[in-house]
């Protein structure tokens, strides 16, 4: 049987959403803005680090070394200086982030089969990019060293170049070019879904209390569950609309692949919504004004963002924080959405996360619905 009360509630909610510019902006524009901001800004990619070179040798051997650095696009050789002071100045004022000093006797030492030394200076004030640049600098240097060694060996025994004794073949799966947007965009989808639905449901329910409309609703025969469902359904639909919107931008603009099953992505997203809507509903039972509701949701949102592995890799966190992260529902959803989009895994690989989200969703929803009363006190 058609439930007129429920349909009427949902229709009313949609009219309110469509006529409230603030909600519309929050729903339509903010997620897109967030996606572009985070998609571009929140990247760990280290490319084209400006490099200043103080080449005191200027021989063919030194040029070869510089070519090796130039070839990898980690560094761009932007400055050619002729003193250590000039190099220091460039790094001091931030024009260059790294410096390479080649001593005058570099070519000579290489020729005479001695140990040649070069100095690589790195601006460590941003540790994340510095550590990537550092290993890149070492790697380039080492492979050049190996090359030189192989040549020397060949010259020594007058034969064809000998082969290296150990070769490590690396294969980077799922994201061979290590593009960080593959990692960030699915994360952004998760955080936007989480933030938007919990904030919108909390404020939508509290608004009835703040404006006094709840007093008129109370005397109607609307059942508490109808009130809850009637409030949640519009925001579930909005959230799913948002998910599609963000996915589309992710795929068509940021070129993030969807390797997994699209249906599975929606299934897991719907499951995750149960948690975020539950948090919104719970916050609405604790707050009397929309502002209070916002703050309450943010108190859950902030630690979620930091402890879910959205910004910082969980593996790098202290053990205690890693344990706490198991209590953050967003953590599981991020694993799911990243795996589904980039790895293209099936349901079997995500069974644990499915279980965790189901437990969280049911628990939070149950508490929230139990606390939800169709009364003023």
């Amino acid at each position: 049987m058609l439930n007129i009360r429920l349909i009427s509630l949902i229709r009313k909610e949609f009219i309110q959403i469509l006529r409230d510019p603030r909600t519309l902006i929050l729903v339509l524009i903010i997620p897109v803005m967030q996606l572009f901001l985070m998609g571009y800004a929140a990247t760990n990619d280290v490319r084209n680090v400006p490099l200043a070179v103080y080449d005191q040798n200027r021989g063919p051997a030194a040029r070869e070394l510089l070519d090796a650095y130039r070839a990898a696009d980690y560094f761009s050789l932007e400055y050619d200086v002729d003193s250590e002071d000039a190099l220091r100045d460039l790094i001091d004022n931030g024009d260059a982030r790294a410096g390479l000093i080649i001593p005058p006797d570099y070519g000579e030492k290489i020729q005479s089969e001695e140990n040649a030394h070069v100095v690589f200076v790195l601006d460590g004030s941003d540790p994340t990019s510095a550590s990537t640049a550092l290993s890149a600098a070492q790697l380039i240097g080492q492979s050049k060293a190996t090359e030189i060694m192989v040549e020397r060996q060949a010259r020594l025994i007058h034969s064809a170049p000998i082969s290296q004794p150990l070769i490590v073949h690396t294969r980077v799966w799922y994201n061979p070019d290590l593009i960080s947007s593959y990692y960030m965009i699915p994360g952004v989808i998760g955080t936007i879904l989480f933030a938007l639905t919990s904030i919108l449901t909390a404020t939508a329910i509290v608004r009835e209390r703040e404006r006094g409309t709840i007093e008129q609703l109370i005397v109607t025969p609307i059942r508490p569950w109808e009130l809850v469902v009637g409030k949640l359904i519009p925001y579930v639909l909005l959230a799913l609309f948002n998910a599609v919107e963000i996915l589309a931008i992710g795929v068509y603009w940021f070129k993030v692949p969807i390797r997994g099953n699209l249906g599975l992505i929606f299934l897991f997203s719907a499951l995750f919504l149960m948690t975020s809507l539950g948090i919104g509903l719970l916050a609405s039972t604790l707050a009397n004004t929309q502002q209070e509701a916002m703050l309450t949701v943010w108190m859950i949102l902030l630690p979620s963002l930091f402890l879910s592995g959205f910004f910082f890799p969980l593996e790098a966190m202290p053990k205690v924080l890693q344990w706490i992260s198991y209590a953050i529902p967003l953590r599981y959803y991020l694993v799911i959405i990243r795996s589904l989009m980039v790895k293209g895994v099936g349901f079997a690989a995500l069974r644990q996360e499915f279980l965790a989200l189901t437990v969280f969703g049911i628990a939070i929803m149950t508490i929230a619905v139990m606390r939800f009363k169709k009364r003023l006190d």
């Binding site: 007129i4 009360r5 349909i7 009427s8 509630l9 229709r11 009313k12 009219i15 309110q16 006529r19 409230d20 404006r211 006094g212 409309t213 709840i214 007093e215 008129q216 609703l217 109370i218 005397v219 109607t220 025969p221 609307i222 009364r375 003023l376 006190d377």
Partner: protein
């Protein structure tokens, strides 16, 4: 139609409603008056089940509000003190919403809404957003929403506060027309004594207790012979001298006159004493005589009275 017996409601240690018992029958317009914080709004909310009853019983049109909450609520139309409709919805959308959640069928809501809008005089504003209505029109829309399901019990919490005098008259004509049908009971709270005098019965509440109850005439009769009207200049001096008189209990300014509440049978002594006192203080008394008591006089007497007295 409304039966309240031994009703109690506490907010923490504060007793908001204390041992309230009241029966109101169909056709009555019962006015609940009293100072702010007397427990009028709390009583209204208890009656419609918006807050929990701590002890006592409420019966609405045969249904127990505690055990048969929803059946009882189905009989209630409630107009809260604060505007409680959706500002972003139009007049008709608001009414349709409340008609539908109140269980009106698809083919019923439209004619019923138009009928009720015509009744309250909003038929020309069906497409205006509720938030864009004037204060008086908002209250009429609130009344329409409360009436849309033809309730037997109408609870109106200060329906005319902040409404202009002309619209107040309109509003009361509507209330009286409803009650005149004989099958509806209206419970209304109001701060206006002229409105209180239009009720068929009045109850005076203070500190959660119903101190006095009866028809307006019966209440007025309580102070018969005890109210004197004093005119003259300057009024502040007259009032100060009047309250010093041993037979005057209280003196209240009413515009250009002062109402004295006096001990019964002391009229002559008071007149003699005040004449002399006022002349001695170079004031002028133009008029002093016994008048029929107003509801204001009762209100003032009960309001200033110690709640134990």
């Amino acid at each position: 139609m409304i039966k309240i017996s031994n009703l109690y409601k506490y907010f923490r240690s504060l007793c908001a409603v204390e041992n309230l018992s009241l029966n109101i029958s169909a056709g009555e317009i019962f006015g609940l008056v009293g100072p702010d914080g007397a427990g009028k709004t709390t009583t209204m909310r208890l009656l419609c089940g918006a807050i929990k009853v701590d002890s006592g019983q409420i019966n609405i049109a045969g249904f127990d509000i505690i055990k048969q909450t929803e059946q009882a609520r189905a009989q209630i139309g409630y107009l809260p003190q604060k505007f409680s409709l959706y500002e972003e919805l139009t007049v008709l959308e608001n009414l349709r919403f409340f008609a539908e959640v109140r269980g009106l069928k698809v083919e019923e809501w439209k004619p019923r809404c138009m009928e009720i809008l015509e009744f309250v005089g909003l038929e020309d504003f069906t497409n205006r957003w509720a938030g864009k209505l004037s204060g008086g029109m908002k209250q009429k829309l609130g009344l329409a929403a409360a009436l849309v399901h033809e309730p037997q019990v109408l609870l109106l919490d200060e329906p005319t506060t902040g409404v202009d005098p002309v619209t107040r008259q309109d509003f009361w004509r509507l209330i009286i027309r409803l009650a005149a049908r004989g099958d509806v009971v209206v419970l209304v709270t109001t701060p206006y004594m002229d409105e209180a005098s239009r009720c068929t019965r009045l109850g005076f509440m203070k500190d959660g207790r119903l101190l006095l109850e009866g028809t307006p005439n019966k209440l007025r009769a309580q102070l018969r012979g005890r109210i004197m009207e004093l005119r003259g200049t300057p009024l502040p001096l007259l009032r100060r001298l009047a309250v010093q008189d041993p037979d005057v209990e209280d003196a209240q300014m009413f515009g250009d006159r002062i109402h004295l509440r006096v001990h019964i049978g002391a009229h002559e002594e008071i007149t003699n004493r005040l004449e002399k006192e006022i002349a001695a203080n170079r004031g002028m008394m133009t008029h002093l005589q016994v008048v029929p008591p107003q509801l204001e006089d009762i209100f003032m007497e009960l309001s200033v009275m110690d709640s134990d007295g």
